[in-house]
């Protein structure tokens, strides 16, 4: 187990290094340079040059990278080019909002997806199963931004129950969390069902039945094994969740990290774009590391 952990961790560190270099380089190759955003186009070329000098944009790029890492390590994250807010402050505020939204959506998708999958498996090929699977197909087929519009139409425009966008407070959280959870719920449901069906045909389940265990107890024992693929895919799901956060937060004006990244990319606020690209890449890489570890914990066969 220790070697497995060490191997995975070393791999994660290598990936992190490569990813940070890639993000840093690709944003430096961006067309137009930061002085174009921060300074008026009428400013003299000499002043522009001095500005670049001050930001260190004239130095070799690997030195810029090392300086950047050094600053990060000292907690000196720089500030937004657009409104001058310190990035550290943005990170705390938007990070908290994103965590609230992401965790709610993740819990929601498991809280609905797992029981629904079990129900579908227990009543397989009967109307309840078909209804659940139909909903699942729909959940995978509706793009999240379209679902978002439909919900806004229903709950904000027509019924006037919920605010259509904005932040903070449970009323603002409901729709973004639902939308973010929709696809994950559908996928979890389908996986849970097929995983349960796979387990139900195993010998040990027949033995349980032969002993005369009540059906709900049989299902309970089946469940333990059936959860393995769900747990092992959590990392991948988290990655996708982070990707979708970009779109869902932007639609609902939910001031999280994803919203900030999309805004900063659109407005070419590159220190912000760079930092939050790194943060989200870090989150994705760490969640896949977490998934590897969880996989090792629940399935001992992996620990080689």
């Amino acid at each position: 187990m220790i070697t497995y952990l060490a191997g995975r961790t070393a791999r994660t560190l290598v990936i992190l290094f490569l990813a940070s270099v890639a993000v840093f380089y690709s944003l430096r190759f961006a067309p137009g340079d930061p002085s174009g955003v921060a300074l008026s186009p009428l400013v003299l070329e000499e002043i522009r040059e001095a500005y670049r000098e001050r930001l260190g944009l004239n130095r070799p790029i690997y030195l810029q990278y090392l300086t950047y890492l050094g600053n990060l390590a000292q907690g000196n994250l720089g500030q937004s080019l657009i409104n001058g807010k310190p990035i550290a402050e943005l990170f705390v505020e938007h990070g908290r909002n994103s965590l609230i939204l992401g965790i709610t959506a993740l819990l929601l998708s498991y809280a609905v997806g797992i029981p629904a999958g079990i129900l579908a498996a227990a009543y397989r090929n009967r109307p309840l199963d078909q209804a659940i699977m139909g909903l699942g197909a729909l959940g995978m087929g509706i793009p999240n931004f379209w679902l978002a519009l439909l919900l806004v139409y229903l709950f904000s425009a027509t019924l006037k129950w919920l605010p259509s966008a904005g932040c903070c407070g449970p009323k603002y959280l409901i729709m973004p969390a639902l939308v973010l959870a929709a696809e994950g719920t559908a996928v979890t449901m389908r996986m849970m069902r097929s995983s349960m069906l796979e387990q139900i045909n195993q010998d040990f389940v027949r033995t349980h039945r032969a002993y005369g265990l009540p059906e709900w107890k049989v299902l309970l024992f089946t469940l333990r094994n059936a959860l393995i693929p769900i747990i092992s895919l959590t990392g991948l799901r988290l990655g996708w969740l982070i990707g979708y956060t970009l779109i869902v937060e932007t639609i609902f004006n939910w001031p999280g990290v994803g919203y900030l990244l999309v805004e900063s990319v659109l407005r070419r606020d590159y220190p912000v774009a760079q930092f939050f690209s790194l943060v989200l890449v870090l989150a994705v890489v760490l969640s896949s590391w977490l998934a590897d570890i969880l996989y090792g914990v629940v399935d001992p066969r992996v620990r080689r």
């Binding site: 690709s26 961006a30 793009p143 991948l236 990655g239 982070i242 779109i247 994705v284």
Partner: protein, 303 residues
């Protein structure tokens, strides 16, 4: 063939009559597809929408970018406008077929290129093994599973808004996905008897790969391929919806839905027509994927 002591001709006759009639794999596939109702429905919907996109220049009745404020907010079936007009008087039908074209370009076009690249990488890694495999699969494992949308947004930061970053993100991530599948199949197939037999009679590596390994790796690839296309289409539309991705005047189903978002209450068709279209396209692809999985590879059925 078993040697028989009795009348061998009669035995052969019995065996032949009991053998199912030979069918070309393609014919068998077509028969299975026609029998599988869900797959057939998915295929029909997908093909129909693909035709609309492919034939867009001939089907469009108006210039998709031409604005006419006097003709804005016309409902569907208004004279001269099959599906009505949007908030600045552009013909929705013409925009829809061209928007489908954008979706198909990113969905099918790029995934097809990714299929070629992924097949190449996966075959090299699986067949050659050794350090080639270590390097290639290492790279694939990093890229595979990375969220498509995040990569596209970071690339947009580097390249500016537009379709190119979306195309690159889809291409890179789907190539890695295909490479991963193909490598697994190549590893599993290369020690099977029929591959060993081909080698034993002197087939070159190229022949072994092209004639014996790849055709057998196609089933899982096709199945995943239809899901990849759906994911790419959703990602493109989502990015275009929030203002990254396709830039005006190029229509995309995502931008069309975004155009109508402020008019949902009274002039909902501006959003609902492209919205229903994209749901149909994605549902069609997913049904096709599920169906292909059942037809081509029963092993995958429970996954």
């Amino acid at each position: 063939m078993v040697r028989t002591t009795g009348s061998s001709e009669a035995t052969a006759g019995i065996i032949l009559s009991r053998m199912p009639e030979y069918q070309h794999p393609a014919a068998r596939f077509l028969r299975d597809l026609l029998r599988h109702r869900m797959a057939l429905a998915g295929a029909v919907v997908t093909l129909f929408l693909m035709m609309l996109g492919l034939l867009a220049p001939w089907l469009a009745t108006h210039d998709y970018a031409r604005q006419n404020l006097l003709e804005a907010f016309k409902p569907p079936l208004a004279p001269g406008y099959l599906l009505g007009t949007d908030q600045i008087g552009r013909d929705i039908w013409s925009r829809l077929v061209y928007g489908l074209r954008t979706s198909l370009l990113v969905g099918f076009g790029v995934t097809l290129i990714a299929l070629v690249a992924g097949t190449l990488i996966g075959t090299l890694a699986g067949y050659l093994g050794g350090w080639v495999d270590t390097v290639l699969s290492g790279a694939v494992e990093i890229v595979w599973g990375f969220p498509l949308i995040l990569l596209a947004v970071i690339l947009t930061g580097a390249m500016g808004p537009g379709l190119p970053p979306v195309v690159i993100a889809v291409g890179v991530i789907n190539s890695a996905g295909f490479a991963r599948i193909i490598r697994g199949e190549v590893l599993a197939l290369q020690y099977r008897e029929f591959v060993q037999a081909a080698r034993a009679v002197g087939a070159t590596d190229l022949i072994v790969i092209l004639r014996h390994i790849l055709p057998n790796a196609m089933a899982p690839t096709l199945v995943m391929g239809s899901y990849y296309v759906a994911l790419a289409i959703i990602a493109e539309a989502g990015l275009s919806f929030i203002g990254l991705g396709a830039q005006p005047p190029l229509p995309s189903l995502g931008t069309m839905i975004a155009d109508g978002r402020n008019y949902l209450l009274y002039d909902h068709w501006i959003s609902t027509i492209p919205g229903v279209t994209i749901v149909l396209l994605v549902l069609g692809l997913n049904l096709l994927g599920d169906g292909l999985r059942d037809i081509l590879d029963p092993r995958l059925r429970e996954r």
